[in-house]
């Protein structure tokens, strides 16, 4: 069987699995966020944190909850890393330097999971499992909570209330992420992913020499790393490491985990706004972009020129032979089009175009299907922009899901789309203009530029994947990427929640023949066009100087 055919079959199996899970999971999540019953364990948690889960919150209160909870998360994680040297169960690793500790804390709380450290050489069991893994769950739950608040903004009317942040946070963790993770971890262990608390082993290498391996609760962290679109690997090699991702099946399963919640949330959205068709339209937009990107990635990675490519059957450099080109291509597109950032191959070793596709995927705002929660709200913001332009074209004040897109709404949406380009381009330009940051580049020319552009694209969009090649553990990069991650995560959330509050206050407008039909393929096409032109074109000049210049040269 040719590797291209194998890739196609893997893709079909993946789509079939996602399709099977779509309705039950999407409906289940809608019930979780709509139910007014509390589980016993949830009641304990509410009592412990002193929250009243039945109190409705306006958008400002909801936002305060998000920010306060995340700020505590950053401080806790920062402290834990700074104290690692004095904590037991740390495998003898010393405390992390302040700039790197800040970077890592910002990274995991913002669901980015950019790693400027080497997991197996820096972080012990306590930080990995007690700090990083915890954030893997809760940062994902925060993302879903904000998305649900926005959906409630559409679904509710004549109220400013968006639900209760603490209830949404706890439910997302207890009822969705933990149960799915338990099932997923068992499957991963069955595939051969390790799960233990053993120490460091020194083993002899095949070619002579010695190598250190450490054990750890890898499967449990791996599953939430993918499921919560986090991406921070237990090991530096991330999902290319055999302890994290041993074979082709585990590889496909991990891709499935990455995409599971982001795609299914469109069903939840459709259910909650009372029209699953609206959810399908959003799903079609996400799936359309995702499939097109996979197609492009496969094409460029299989069609490399030169003798090395021909011998290997494509661009095999930096890829694991057990995954092959297709398994790596699907993984890298899925990880960059969501906010995951886990890698099973080295994006820097992709063809020039391939690296560009990864970057563009993140630059579109990670909305196809995007991170858990963040993908949905990012896509809904783009839908609002598309509706605004198209709505005018049908001769009415634009409206989406029965809500008017007026001055206030467009103001918040416009602010949202400003944030990431400002962070990505601003920090990249600063890094290029200053003399020191450039020392971190391993390559010169277009590829070297891509390394830095990729780093800020990844941080600003909360992806967390690295292009490899860039030495990011410097004070400059730790600080600036840390800031980009925090601002790239929480500023958009401010605008999303403000928008949600504004939408929830409106009264609904009944649909008529004069209403723009947002559940039709025409709208999906329009939405894709809006995303490509408004978000994608912003980065065209930068991409031209990096991956395009590189790709066109070969």
């Amino acid at each position: 069987m040719s590797s291209a055919l194998a890739g196609l079959l893997q893709l079909l199996a993946l789509i079939a699995a996602l399709a099977l899970a779509y309705r039950p999971l999407g409906d289940y999540m809608a019930r979780v966020y709509s139910s007014d019953k509390h589980l016993r364990v949830e009641k304990w948690i509410y009592k412990a944190i002193g929250a009243n889960p039945d109190a409705e919150m306006r958008w400002t209160a909801y936002l305060r909850g998000v920010l306060a909870f995340s700020a505590v998360g950053v401080l806790f994680l920062f402290g834990l890393q700074r104290l690692q040297g004095s904590l037991p169960g740390s495998l003898g690793f010393k405390s992390i330097d302040p700039d790197q500790a800040f970077n890592t804390a910002a990274s995991f709380v913002s669901n980015t999971n950019w790693q400027s450290y080497y997991g197996e050489q820096a972080m012990g069991h306590v930080v990995q499992t007690g700090g990083l893994a915890v954030q893997n769950f809760v940062s994902a739950a925060v993302g879903i909570a904000v998305a649900v608040a926005l959906v409630r903004g559409f679904a509710r009317s004549r109220t400013g209330e968006l639900g209760n942040f603490w209830a949404d946070l706890v439910r997302g963790t207890v009822r969705i992420l933990i149960p799915l993770s338990i099932i997923g971890a068992i499957i991963l262990v069955a595939c051969g992913v390790i799960q233990n608390f053993s120490g460091i082993h020194e083993v002899g290498q095949f070619m002579g020499g010695h190598q250190q391996w450490n054990g750890g609760a890898v499967a449990s962290q791996e599953v939430i790393k993918e499921l919560g679109t986090n991406g921070g690997g237990y090991f530096n090699a991330n999902s290319a490491h055999p302890f994290e991702n041993p074979n082709a099946f585990s590889n496909l399963f991990e891709i499935f985990l990455i995409l599971l919640i982001p795609f299914s949330l469109t069903r939840t959205f459709g259910r909650m706004v009372g029209s699953v068709k609206q959810g399908y339209a959003i799903l079609a937009t996400m799936a359309g972009i995702w499939l097109a990107f996979i197609g492009l990635m496969m094409w460029t990675e299989f069609a490399g020129h030169g003798p090395a490519f021909q011998l290997a059957g494509g661009a095999m450099e930096g890829k694991e032979t057990r995954f092959g080109i297709a398994g790596s291509a699907i993984f890298s597109v899925s990880t960059t089009l969501t906010s995951t950032g886990a890698v099973n191959s080295f994006h820097s070793s992709n063809t020039g175009f391939g690296g560009g596709i990864d970057m563009l995927g993140m630059q579109l705002g990670e909305i196809a299907p995007g991170g858990v929660g963040s993908g949905l709200y990012g896509m809904l913001i783009m839908a609002i922009i598309a509706v605004f332009i198209a709505g005018l074209m049908v001769g009415r004040t634009p409206e989406y899901l029965g809500k008017k897109i007026g001055t206030r709404e467009i103001k918040f949406a416009a602010c949202y789309i400003l944030v990431t380009p400002a962070l990505v381009l601003g920090f990249t330009a600063a890094a290029m203009a200053l003399s020191t940051p450039a020392h971190s580049m391993t390559n010169s020319g277009a590829h070297g530029f891509s390394e830095i552009l990729y780093a800020y694209t990844s941080a600003g969009n909360n992806n967390g994947s690295a292009f490899a090649g860039l030495n990011a553990d410097t004070q400059w990069f730790n600080t600036t990427t840390g800031l980009a991650m925090l601002l790239g995560r929480f500023l958009p959330m401010v605008f999303v929640l403000a928008l949600a509050g504004s939408l929830a206050e409106q009264k609904p407008i009944p649909a008529s023949a004069g209403t723009l039909r947002t559940e039709k393929p025409l709208f999906t096409g329009l939405l894709i066009g809006t995303i490509l032109i408004i978000t994608g074109l912003t980065y065209f000049p930068a991409l031209a100087l990096g991956p395009l210049a590189e790709g066109l040269a070969s």
Binding site: A390, A414, A430, R517, L522, L545, A553
Partner: protein
């Protein structure tokens, strides 16, 4: 109900014409290229930063022009810098020109209005005596006298007397109108002229705030405020401008690293920025708004705010008065129904005879029907010598004629039966039945009886009915396709209302409507999230007009109604409500379409400028030069020139409005997305290539 009761309470000013089939497609007058030249001085005056800052996109272009000018001055030998500078300035001027042309068309109208607003001397009543004061000294509540030949000094209500007034100064309609105290025809407008009689007017508005003042402000655009959608669009455009500003500013360090420092001079980057930010829509946005108001003015509708015009596009429920809007003002004879034992021809002959002297529209329609449907030769009043005409009175509720020993009567059922019985005649058994059936079907029955040698007897019944205007059903079907519900408002009983509603094809009706009912209906619709439009003229309509999202007051109406509504129709033609909705929609569509066009344009501009800047540093990037433009300079120049010229090219479209045909949202989107989305992608590729071809012929640019 008597015959005369069926007359409309308000005499229609003019027969409402059948709805124009072409409406909506009618533009706002022809665009004359000469206007561009005429408005040029205004356009240059608008370069003042305080004016420019209102449009964030064009303000950025202005700053860009200043920057390139400064750079060109410091390096006078650089022809490229000068040419770019000139075209950037032209871009700004073209944008101002679009606005100036749009405003210029209102100015002409304002001048005409000003002529009417000459300083008048008012004859103010003080107690029993009269004093002459300037019109500007009048206060609310003052009483003034106007006699034939006087110009009415201010807006007010007639409190005494009746007069014919020439209102052509504001309506353009030369036929005089009657203004009288009390009722719904009491409002007079300052600047109009009394032609006959004497009236006493109570002033209701302060000088300087009169209707004519407001009109002048409106058509001149002085009172123009940005509408909600326009503000929202401006925010989106501003944010896109910031995004592109970021993309261009950050490009410089990238370019230096890539080794393209020289190719990305400040002038080139400014040119790139101006090409990328949505200048096309930014330049035309305010012209589109002004032109939208202007289109209303051209249809003799004054919108008191742009907000109302926009709301008109969003309307989902139209409340339409039956009389004058859906039906012609008057009832007309539709059929002569004989009672058993007589023939239709006999009835026709009798009613024609009885109606010869009846000058009411109903009477005339009887004569016409007798001739057209029953083939009766037209008789004239003069032919009958010795005829004695019996006029209608409120007591007898009948009219008729006594001629050659024959007495013919027609009138309300009860009265005619009583008349026959009085004369010992026979009333056919089915007479009441027939009358009832006509009533039931929504018509008005008039019984016809005769007394001659054979005694008194009922001959038959005239079926009078409301005649639905031609083309209304199609019009309502159109509205339904646009998602607009129509509700007919009538004082008729539910039975009659239902019949007419069905015939006209409206979606719903409100029978025996009181002002309170109307108000309740509007509130109910609004509670469901719908926007409601209505017309009205009476004082009792005022609360509903104020409550409706679009309230169009008839100019013939009371000043209370005009004050309450947010639009005034100078023609007092209620059918115009439909056109107003179409104009509102057209305004939004034009904005949306040009925005789409403007944004889609960017793709081609990138393909022109990016390779021009970077093909030296990375020769492989020349592959992006898919238009195969001659040289980097001509590529950048072509993009800038296209960007400027497209503004001028689209001015007529902005003024006229995008073609609008009532249809569903789906179809409209497909059409406009095809023309302005796809067109916006493709057009600049062709345009830039053509300009490049022309430029390559010039020495110094071509190879």
């Amino acid at each position: 109900m008597t015959l005369h009761d069926t007359l409309p309470a308000r005499a229609p000013q003019q027969d409402t014409p059948p709805p124009a089939k072409e409406s909506g497609k009618v533009g706002g007058g022809l665009f004359d290229p000469k206007q561009l030249l005429k408005s040029l001085p205004d356009a240059v005056r608008k370069l003042h930063p305080r004016v420019m800052v209102k449009s964030p996109v064009m303000f950025v272009v202005l700053i860009g022009s200043l920057v390139t000018t400064a750079l060109a001055v410091t390096n006078p030998g650089d022809w490229f810098g000068w040419v770019i500078t000139v075209w950037l300035w032209l871009t700004v001027v073209f944008a101002n020109l679009a606005e100036a042309v749009a405003e210029g068309r209102g100015k002409a109208q304002a001048d005409t209005l000003r002529k009417a607003k000459t300083d008048t001397v008012a004859r103010r009543l003080t107690g029993t005596s009269e004093e002459s004061v300037p019109g500007t000294d009048l206060r609310i509540g003052d009483l003034v006298v106007c006699e034939a030949g006087d110009i009415i000094p201010g807006d007010g209500d007639v409190v005494e007397g009746v007069a014919s007034v020439d209102e052509s100064a504001i309506t353009g309609e030369s036929a005089p109108v009657i203004r009288e105290s009390g009722g719904d025809r009491s409002a007079v407008t300052g600047g109009t002229k009394v032609l006959s009689d004497r009236i006493v007017i109570k002033i209701t508005t302060k000088p300087g705030e009169t209707f004519i003042d407001r009109m002048i402000n409106l058509v001149e655009g002085a009172a123009r405020q940005k509408t909600p959608n326009e503000i929202a669009l401006n925010i989106l455009l501003a944010s896109l401008t910031i995004v592109f500003l970021l993309a261009v500013v950050t490009l410089k360090p990238f370019a230096i690293y890539a080794g393209a420092d020289k190719q990305t001079s400040m002038i080139v980057l400014t040119a790139l920025l101006v090409c990328l930010i949505p200048t096309t829509i930014g330049a035309l946005l305010s012209a589109i708004g002004i032109a939208g108001m202007d289109r209303l003015v051209q249809r003799n509708v004054l919108a008191m705010s742009g907000r109302a015009v926009e709301a008109a596009g969003d309307v989902s429920t139209l409340l339409l008065d039956k009389t004058g809007t859906i039906t012609l003002g008057n009832r007309q004879a539709a059929e002569f129904v004989p009672v058993r034992g007589t023939t239709a021809a006999e009835v026709a002959d009798a009613v024609q005879l009885s109606s010869l002297a009846d000058e009411t529209p109903e009477g005339r329609s009887i004569v016409v029907l007798a001739k057209e449907k029953y083939g009766l030769r037209e008789r004239h009043q003069g032919e009958l010598t010795g005829a004695e005409w019996v006029p209608f009175t409120a007591q007898t509720r009948m009219s008729g004629v006594d001629v050659d020993g024959r007495k013919v009567r027609k009138g309300a059922t009860g009265s005619v039966i009583a008349w026959v019985n009085e004369r010992g005649g026979t009333v056919a058994d089915d007479a009441s039945d027939l009358s009832y059936r006509i009533s039931e079907s929504g018509g008005t029955p008039l019984l016809v009886a005769v007394e001659d040698a054979d005694g008194a007897r009922v001959l038959g019944v005239i079926h009078l009915k409301d005649v639905v205007k031609e083309g209304m059903r199609e019009r309502f079907d159109e509205l339904r396709r646009m998602g607009i519900k129509t509700v007919m408002i009538t004082g008729d009983n539910p039975l009659t209302a239902k019949a007419i509603a069905e015939e006209a094809g409206v979606d719903d009706f409100l029978a025996e409507a009181t002002p309170e009912d109307k108000m309740a209906l509007i509130k109910r619709e609004q509670a469901g999230g719908k926007l409601v439009a209505m017309t009205g003229d009476g004082t009792n309509d005022a609360p509903a007009l104020a409550q409706a999202d679009v309230g169009v007051a008839m100019n013939t109406g009371t000043s209370a109604a005009k004050e309450a509504g947010n639009m005034v129709d100078l023609d007092s033609n209620p059918t115009k409500l439909i056109e107003i909705v179409e104009i509102g929609k057209q305004l939004l569509i034009t904005r949306g379409s040009l925005t789409t066009f403007s944004i889609a344009n960017d793709v081609a501009k990138y393909f022109a400028i990016i390779p021009a800047m970077f093909a030296v540093a990375y020769p492989q990037l020349d592959a992006l030069n898919i238009m195969r433009l001659t040289s980097p300079e001509s590529a950048i120049l072509s993009a800038v020139i296209f960007n400027a010229l497209i503004i001028i090219a689209l001015v007529p479209l902005a003024l006229k409005g995008v073609q609008y045909k009532p249809t569903s949202a789906d179809r409209m989107l497909r059409r406009n997305l095809g023309i302005y989305g796809l067109g916006g992608l493709i057009a600049p590729f062709i345009g830039i290539k053509l300009i490049d071809l022309l430029l390559s012929l010039l020495p110094g640019i071509g190879h």
